[in-house]
Subunit: 199 residues, 2 copies
């Protein structure tokens, strides 16, 4: 789509302010309505652009949310390929990949900035919670074969969240300085048990 191909709505892909206007509108909608009830066409209307332009910049709603939260990656694009390989060994694969992201300094700073921003802004918490429930827990639950997949995915989430907060947000030793592969070895069996063992 070239910047000269559209004339009607005023804002075009080439506009340097267009992307920011969409993100500002998205932040307002996510804060007011949460993640589930925010629709791309409402964000587009708030920003005064065509919905196609939102898709052009951000592809999907979870991509728009990740950009609004200033995350360098869509969580779904990280977890999707891991889930596609099935439940066998999934605890280890997910843990290794998520720890690798958090161990990367740039990514960790983005994630910590998001944590602190959401902690300081209660109105952003519903959207983050709904996003995690739908895009992470929901995707994980969908590949679990055992009974009570939602509970199992929630238990995995509780251990992952506690681990990430302890290691990266609070920085509790000796966990914070442990080699990534040692963390994987210690914690992956917990996730795998939640994924497939009798509860």
């Amino acid at each position: 789509m070239s910047s000269t191909s559209r004339r009607s709505r005023g804002r075009r892909p080439g506009d340097s302010g267009t992307r920011e206007a969409i993100l500002a509108a998205a932040r307002g909608r996510f804060a007011a309505s949460g993640y589930d009830r925010t629709r791309i066409r409402d964000v587009a209307a708030d920003a005064g652009v065509d919905p196609a332009l939102v898709h052009y910049f951000f592809k999907t709603k979870d991509g728009l949310f990740a950009a609004a939260m200033q995350l360098p990656l869509r969580p779904a694009e990280v977890i999707g390929p891991l889930l596609a390989e099935g439940v066998s060994g999934l605890g280890e694969r997910v843990l290794r990949r998520v720890l690798a992201l958090w161990d990367d300094e740039d990514y960790r700073e983005s994630l910590l900035a998001m944590v602190h921003s959401v902690t300081a802004q209660p109105e952003a918490q519903l959207a983050l919670r709904e996003f995690i429930t739908r895009e992470l827990r929901g995707r994980l639950a969908s590949v679990i074969q055992a009974d009570r997949p939602e509970l199992r995915a929630t238990l995995c989430g509780s251990q992952m969240a506690g681990l990430l907060v302890a290691r990266y947000v609070v920085g509790v030793e000796p966990l914070a300085s442990l080699e990534r592969e040692e963390v994987v070895r210690a914690v992956a069996p917990t996730l795998q048990r939640y994924l497939e063992d009798p509860l």
Copy 2:
């Protein structure tokens, strides 16, 4: 100790304001210096009372901290008897007891009030973190027979924290409505594994 037996320091056990004055001094010290470096005699000096009076009201530093946080129980008096029975079955015992406390409405409200107060006051976070490290993790680590007791106790803490936040603070379903014994059955093996299995 009767209210007429001491005259020198001005404040006496019978003073209705004495206990509150000590707690106000304690909150100031804990916020300024954290838990580890706060001494009962400094709190007493700030409150203008004899240190014996602080011991009279609150017995120990962890009792003073619990009262300053408006907790109805000292965490150490909850966890102490459980640890005294040894590592065998400890994951299940700790989990059942801690969940019973959080399932009790009065206690849960006190704990949630503490969580929200500490979230809103960054200056209170160091003290809470040091308190948890020393009085909960330190006590747990001291009964672990296997290698790397600090790491093992930290891993237990990461799962407990993630579980409590998910079930009680955020209220994630289906975990929030699950019967207590079902939670014990699902999560106790995780704690027990961290306590004694090869990592």
